[in-house]
């Protein structure tokens, strides 16, 4: 398993995430897309810190851990806001939430 494999995978993950975010018609799946993006990044960091930097340097892995934490926090806030949206709009379809425009 070389660096390239990891990078390719993370790239695929990232693309999938973006794809989900752009196309899904459900706020939850958008959230999942976002998670995919973040995790692809984490994968990158870990992989780089494993292959690029000397073993004693673990910056990348630390960053990845923080990434996970922040992803969790973000998910929490996101869900809260989705609740609010649902309360106000009675739906969580992103394309129905478009009163602000122009």
């Amino acid at each position: 398993m070389s660096l390239q494999h990891y990078l390719v995978i993370s790239a695929i993950l990232f693309s999938l995430g973006i794809f989900a975010v752009l196309t899904r018609k459900n706020a939850i799946s958008i959230l999942m897309g976002i998670e995919l993006i973040l995790n692809s990044c984490n994968l990158n960091f870990v992989a780089f810190s494993r292959f690029v930097t000397p073993p004693e340097n673990i910056d990348g892995q630390i960053i990845a851990i923080f990434g996970i934490v922040l992803a969790a926090a973000e998910a929490a806030v996101f869900l809260a806001i989705i609740l609010a949206i649902y309360r106000e709009f009675g739906s969580i379809r992103p394309d129905e939430v478009d009163t602000l425009k122009g």
């Binding site: 975010v21 752009l22 478009d98 602000l100």
Partner: protein
């Protein structure tokens, strides 16, 4: 002594006006403005007369620096030679007489004081013009008199005809003035100065070969400049083709016509041309002579068929001015000025006389309007004539309402008769004869000396004009004063004018005899040299010129060239004597011819209008086309009107409304053209195109705003798509770089 005198001459009338203006601001007016102005004029007259003996043989300009910019300096000042003094006297004299006359004539007019104030202002401007020693000063006076004539023609501005006439006068002359101004620009660029006399005045400089030279170009631009300056004279002195304003100017009060449009302002053109004599080249002289000749002839022919007494005199004035121009163009400097002087007196007299007649009828004016308009209609019918635009004749000026007045108003009749004899050139006791004769002689002499056909033609023109003049002037006299009263009612009302009006008539009548002695004139007035004309004959004039021998004296009116040549004295006596002989001969021929033709003219008009051997109508019908041509003033106005009617049609598509009263005369014509088409187009252009572009830009910006707005759909995923697109785009673009 000269400067203070001139200052007094200038300041008196100015003060008279200033008092009126200042009190006017306080909405008050001086109790006896008329006396004030008249007194001012009389003082000026006194001073001018006194100046006669102040004139020094070698006149010097008295100048002050007016504007000095680094190396260039514009000076203002007086130049006093005999010509100036003569002009001063003429102006002040006529002006004073007119003032006096007006006291009676304008009596009871609502704007009585203002009239005199204007007269004073005019006199000031005219005098300023006369004494100025530089072109700028002349130009200033030139425009000021224009303003005054504008104000005075439009004195009864409630009349639309008057309102139009004054505007027409100002604009027409203005056209000429622009030409004059361009001429000034040319001279200025050549000489870096506009003063004429003094050490670096133009006339001094021009003798210096660097300015005009053997090479034709020097002469050429000088000719152009000369003609351009002359344009001013064309405008002011109502020469063809800018003459149409003067007849209309008769809308003004008659004293004004006498002062401004007969004696002084219109003569200013001649004066200017005379002043510019040194820079006139042969070619420009010829142009001037032709313009003068044509004017003389055309105006005279038009005058034959007028019925409005003032219009007849107006056209006669135009024609006489043409005469003077012709004289100067033909090099008869002295003759031109002499005729200017004499004409000033007898023409003023004629106008004042007609004024007195009109005054006599004036009372009738009110309740006879409609009746006479009927008369006119009737008139036209049996002549089958169309009235040219703006020639509706007020009944109290229509000669067809007059007749047999000589018993009613003997003084007026007598004085006017004198003037008529004088203008018709009846020998030998009338000044008009001598001056006219001198001009003819000059033209003929020039022709014979220079062997150029041009001057023979010009001589012919002058001669014919002289005949016609005699004819229509006596027509006027006969129609007005002889025969039976055509309109009994008005006749009964008519009465001799009060003495304030008669006295000026008498004075002027006296002056219509050769009081202004031709010999004296010839001795004192000397034409300035024309350095660039290398005259073929250089003559030292024989001593006999200065003798009292009248004939020989007059003979030399014409030979400015010879006199000019005098300075560059080739002592070539027999050549001079040739010239002398030629001129003497020419003079005799001219005199004989002029006497004959004048007699012929008088005789004809006697047969036509007094003995009624033939009827003017029948002649008119036989020579219908010619008659129509004259009656319609060679269709000058019609031509313009025609153009404008076409434009009116045009405009009716362009615009909703259009004021027909605008259409009058060439300048208004131009104004209308520009207003209707050009200016309208530009106005349109301004709104639509120039402004339009700006607005278009604004709209585009707005539209762009709208577009961008529409991208902001409100759907979050669109935004994210833009983000992705942005990223991809950036990467694609900058990777290529």
């Amino acid at each position: 002594m000269v400067v203070p005198l001139i200052s007094i001459i200038l300041l008196c009338p100015l003060a008279a006006f200033a008092i009126f203006a200042l009190l006017g601001l306080a909405k008050r007016s001086f109790p006896r403005q008329d006396l004030l102005s008249t007194a001012a004029m009389l003082i000026a007259l006194g001073c001018s007369l006194y100046l006669l003996k102040e004139v020094v043989p070698k006149p010097e300009p008295h100048t002050v620096d007016w504007i000095s910019l680094g190396k260039i300096t514009f000076s203002m000042g007086f130049y006093l030679d005999i010509v100036t003094v003569i002009m001063l006297i003429v102006v002040t004299l006529v002006s004073s007489l007119v003032h006096i006359f007006s006291i009676g004539y304008m009596h009871g007019d609502p704007r009585y004081p203002r009239f005199f104030a204007y007269l004073s202002l005019f006199s000031f401007s005219m005098l300023f013009l006369v004494v100025s020693d530089n072109l700028l000063g002349i130009y200033i006076g030139w425009e000021l008199v224009g303003l005054c004539s504008y104000l005075l023609i439009g004195f009864w501005f409630e009349k639309d005809s008057a309102a139009n006439a004054c505007k027409k006068a100002f604009l027409t002359t203005r056209v000429g003035d622009v030409g004059m101004f361009i001429g000034m620009m040319m001279l200025f660029t050549r000489f870096d100065t506009l003063s004429l006399y003094g050490d670096n005045g133009i006339f001094t400089r021009i003798t210096n070969p660097e300015y005009l030279t053997a090479d034709a170009s020097g002469i050429f631009w000088l000719s152009i400049a000369g003609v351009l300056i002359f344009c001013g004279a064309i405008g002011k002195s109502a020469q063809v083709p800018l003459h149409t304003w003067l007849p209309d100017a008769m809308e003004g009060p008659t004293p004004v016509s006498a002062l401004i449009h007969a004696a002084t302002m219109v003569a200013a053109g001649v004066y200017l041309t005379a002043r510019m004599f040194p820079i006139l080249t042969p070619s420009s002289s010829l142009v001037i002579a032709y313009v003068g000749g044509i004017t003389a002839l055309v105006a005279a022919t038009i005058a034959i068929v007028r019925f409005d007494i003032k219009r007849v005199l107006a056209y006669s004035t135009v024609s006489q001015l043409g005469y003077m121009m012709l004289a100067i163009g033909a090099g008869s400097y002295v003759a031109g000025l002499f005729h200017l002087t004499t004409h000033a007196f007898f023409k003023a007299l004629l106008f004042l006389g007609s004024g007195s007649v009109i005054h006599a009828f004036h009372a009738m004016h009110a309740h006879h309007d409609e009746e006479h308009t009927d008369d006119n209609e009737h008139e036209h019918d049996n002549h089958g004539l169309v009235h040219a635009h703006g020639s509706e004749i007020p009944p109290d000026q229509d000669m067809r309402n007059m007749g047999g007045l000589r018993r009613k108003m003997p003084w007026t009749f007598g004085t006017m008769l004198v003037a008529t004899l004088s203008i018709s050139g009846v020998p030998f006791f009338f000044s008009g004869f001598w001056s006219k004769d001198a001009i003819l002689a000059g033209a003929l002499g020039k022709a014979m000396v220079s062997h150029s056909p041009h001057y023979y033609i010009l001589f012919g023109m002058a001669l014919i004009a002289a005949g016609i003049t005699a004819f229509y002037m006596f027509r006027l006299i006969f129609m007005t004063f002889f025969g039976e009263p055509r309109n009994q009612e008005m006749h009964d009302m008519a009465h001799e004018s009060p003495w304030v009006m008669v006295v000026p008539l008498l004075v002027l009548a006296v002056l219509s005899f050769p009081v202004v002695n031709p010999i004296w004139f010839n001795d004192y007035v000397k034409p300035p040299p024309q350095p660039h004309i290398h005259a073929p004959q250089h003559a030292q004039l024989g001593p006999d010129t200065k003798t009292g021998d009248a004939n020989s004296g007059f003979a030399f009116f014409g030979i400015s060239e010879a006199e000019a040549a005098e300075e560059e004295s080739g002592k070539n006596t027999e050549k001079a004597n040739d010239v002398y002989r030629i001129y003497k001969l020419s003079h005799n021929i001219a005199m004989v011819l002029s006497i004959c033709i004048a007699g012929l003219g008088i005789l004809l008009s006697w047969l036509f209008y007094h003995r009624r051997k033939f009827s003017a109508e029948s002649v008119a019908t036989t020579f219908r086309p010619v008659y129509n041509l004259f009656w319609n003033k060679y269709y000058f106005d019609e031509f313009y009107d025609g153009v404008l009617v076409a434009l009116t049609v045009w405009k009716s598509r362009l615009f909703a409304k259009f004021d027909l009263s605008i259409i009058d005369g060439i300048v208004n014509g131009v104004a209308t053209i520009t207003r209707q088409i050009f200016a309208a187009f530009i106005g349109f252009f301004d709104n639509r195109v120039v402004d339009g572009i700006v607005n278009r830009v604004a709209e585009v910006t707005w539209a762009a705003g709208g577009r961008i707005r529409r991208i902001q759909t409100g759907a979050i995923q669109t935004y994210l798509f833009v983000v992705l697109g942005g990223i991809v785009l950036i990467i694609l673009i900058f990777r290529a770089l």
